[in-house]
Amino acid sequence: MLEIKNLHVEVEGKKILDGLSLTVKAGEVAAIMGPNGSGKSTLSYVVAGREDYEVTAGEILLEGENILEMDASERAARGLFLAFQYPVEIPGVGTMTFLKSALNAQRKSRGEPELQTPELMKRVREAAKRLEISQDMLKRALNVGFSGGEKKRMEILQMALLEPKLAIMDETDSGLDIDALRIVAQGVNTLRAKERAFLVITHYQRLLNYIKPDTVHVMAAGRIVKTGGPELALELEKNGYRDYVSEAA
């Protein structure tokens, strides 16, 4: 599904990713764990196509196709979804308007017919119910005045609606209390499917109690320094990142 080869990335001349390689297969849930400043968020932004990040070497392949030359919306249309660590507020833009615009923009670029409002409403309502998102929230401007937990649930709702092939969850657990965490994780788990891959980026092992990963990667100093099974996350929880940080340095 996703293949990253020897990725080097700089921001304003500063090296952030330093020869990172990573493969995520269809159906797989891969976790990336790492200390602050290891480049986790940069990785998610670069894969999603945020500009201001200079890729100095390497490749990112989505289903075998190099996506580096595509802009963010083209990557989204190809099935890439990023659940933001800090979802952005867009004043004045109604949540429903936004959902409809996004979904239909993607469908249009894939050559699919646009979804009509009643059908869209139905899908949104169903997803909203599962995620305990109130109708009132759907009526407000996108993310404006939402609490941290509400914003994260809205991200999952969008993911459910857009049905991506690869979903990157950037620190989705940050700022969530235990109830919100459970709802979000359930939302993710119901979307697990054999044709869909997840890349779950997190600092803490806690989230992985709810979203069981198939693979755990440890990231430090801009590359993957160790790969293992779920047990690796537990080990990290116990011993911290100290060993890996010094090793990478």
């Binding site: 867009i90 004043p91 004045g92 996004a102």
Partner: protein
């Protein structure tokens, strides 16, 4: 910020020539001789068969105009206007005589059809059920047709060209004409008083809620012709009216002058809602051509609890000089001003409002959204003033500006004047650009840079769009996307 840069590039490369109302109607017209003299004023007055008092009123204005100078305080820049090179009157020949839909020149009907204006009484606006809108269509210097007149008359509402009102309503016109914008008000208003040709007249009798939206559609067609329309709306005690004006003009390389005057009078407990979607030809990307839109619009809340609300969506014109204002004379009267002003290419906008608090416990509200792109200059200029005896005056002002690209300017010039200690005025303003975070977020969800920009801008102006009558809000929203992106479908 590459994403923004890209949007900026897109906006820059806009073919401002994408203006879709830029066609010319080929129709024979009857013009006054070029230039402006007393004779011209007499010619116009005679054409309209006006009573002596009005001819004198015009001549008085003309004489005063000769002693006046063009205002220079606005942040707009244009070469001197050769007033003697303009035509001050132009009328399609075929419209002389009685006017009914059946008699209107088919060429004119086709023109309005192309503009999307329904000059039919049996149909509704596309996609909106049960929306009936009465239209007064003004073509250059004359009104060519007014629809739904009979039905409105049943409710007691008078909706007709002002030239007709002058003939038929001597009890109203002399009493109210010039009572809000005096003859000597300013250079352009005085010029208008001398040469005004047509425009709409509305009277809503006491206690009547006007049964449908009223609208006037202004079209400048003829070359080297100024349009000087005059609109007068009177809402008698306890009445309500919602009125909308729209405007377009052909693409021409020369600038054309449009100096209108609009006067609103709201009596006790009456409410007037006045909306404008201004889409005059803005000129091409290099700033050639386009309308000089120098208009004076003022509403007088003359009696207690009167309410006047201005909503404007300004996307056209090479230069806009326009300050729809409210005089809050009646106690507890209320004024509102909601504005979206978008400038692109080389457009210059200097627009805003005046809220003059004179009565007791008067309130006003100003929401202004300015968007500057390309090489345009966009200025909000607004005055809020409470006079000595205006106890309990309240104002809230919010003006936000958005810049798209680094070659345009956005300016905010408020004048906040409290001469009464019980006034409470709050003013806030911000200027920023579309945030990179918002753009990226939208693009990550699949929207292209252009779509994302349009979506965010529409969110930015939403508070104002909501003030428009529903039938026009959708139209305005599209217009905003078009004026920013040039992506005419």
């Amino acid at each position: 910020m590459p994403a923004v840069r890209e949007t900026v590039e897109t906006v820059r490369s806009i073919d401002v020539d994408a203006y879709k109302y830029g066609f010319v109607t080929d129709i024979e017209s009857d013009k006054a001789p070029k230039g402006l003299r007393e004779d011209t004023v007499r010619f116009i007055s005679a054409k309209k068969n006006e009573p002596a008092w009005l001819t004198e009123w015009r001549l008085d204005a003309y004489r005063r105009w000769l002693t006046m100078r063009e205002p220079t305080w606005a942040r707009v820049d244009y070469p001197p206007i050769a007033y003697q090179e303009l035509y001050y009157y132009s009328a399609p020949k075929s419209t002389e005589g009685p006017r009914s839909l059946a008699e209107v020149d088919p060429e004119l009907l086709r023109t309005y059809e192309k503009l999307g204006i329904p000059l039919r009484e049996q149909e509704v606006l596309a996609g909106v059920q049960n929306a009936r809108v009465a239209v007064d269509a003004v073509f250059d210097s004359v009104s060519v047709v007014t629809t739904f007149k009979e039905e409105l008359a049943k409710a007691g509402v008078i909706f007709c060209p002002i030239s007709e009102a002058v003939q038929n309503h001597p009890e109203l016109v002399p009493k109210y004409l010039g009572s809000v914008v005096p003859v000597t008000d300013n250079f352009y208003a005085t010029l208008n008083s001398a040469v005004f040709s047509d425009g709409s007249f509305v009277y809503i009798p006491p206690g009547v809620r006007c049964p449908m939206e009223l609208s006037t559609y202004f079209r400048i067609n003829e070359q080297n012709t100024g349009q000087f329309e005059r609109t007068l709306i009177i809402a008698d005690k306890g009445s309500y009216v919602s009125y909308l004006e729209g405007c377009t003009a052909p693409k021409r390389d020369e600038n054309q002058l449009h100096a209108a005057v609009v006067e609103l009078i709201a009596l006790e407990d009456a409410e007037i809602k006045y909306s404008t979607v201004q889409n005059w030809y803005p000129g091409d990307a290099e700033g050639r051509g386009g309308i000089y839109n120098f208009v004076t619009k003022r509403g007088d809340c003359r009696e207690a609890r009167a309410k006047i609300s201005w909503t404007q969506v300004e996307t056209g014109s090479a230069i806009t000089w326009k300050y729809p204002s409210c005089i809050l004379r009646g106690d507890e009267s209320r004024g509102e001003f909601y504005s979206i002003a978008i400038s692109n290419g080389r457009q210059q906008v200097d627009s805003g409002t005046k809220m003059i608090h004179l009565g007791k416990n008067t309130t006003s509200r100003i929401i202004s959204k300015g968007i500057a792109a390309g090489r345009s200059e966009n200025t909000y200029r607004g005055q809020v003033s409470a006079h000595r005896r205006a106890s309990g005056a309240r104002n809230f002002t919010n003006c936000d500006s958005l810049l798209i690209g680094d070659r345009c300017g956005a300016h905010t010039v408020p004048y906040i004047e409290a001469r009464n200690h019980s006034a409470v005025f709050e003013h806030e303003a911000t200027t920023s650009k579309i945030s990179e975070d918002q753009l990226f977020y939208c693009m990550q969800r699949g929207l292209s840079g252009e779509e994302a920009t349009a979506l965010i801008v529409n969110g930015f102006v939403r508070d104002v769009l909501q003030q428009l009558p529903m039938e026009f809000a959708v139209e305005a929203q599209k217009l905003i996307a078009v004026s920013l992106e040039g992506s005419v479908g």
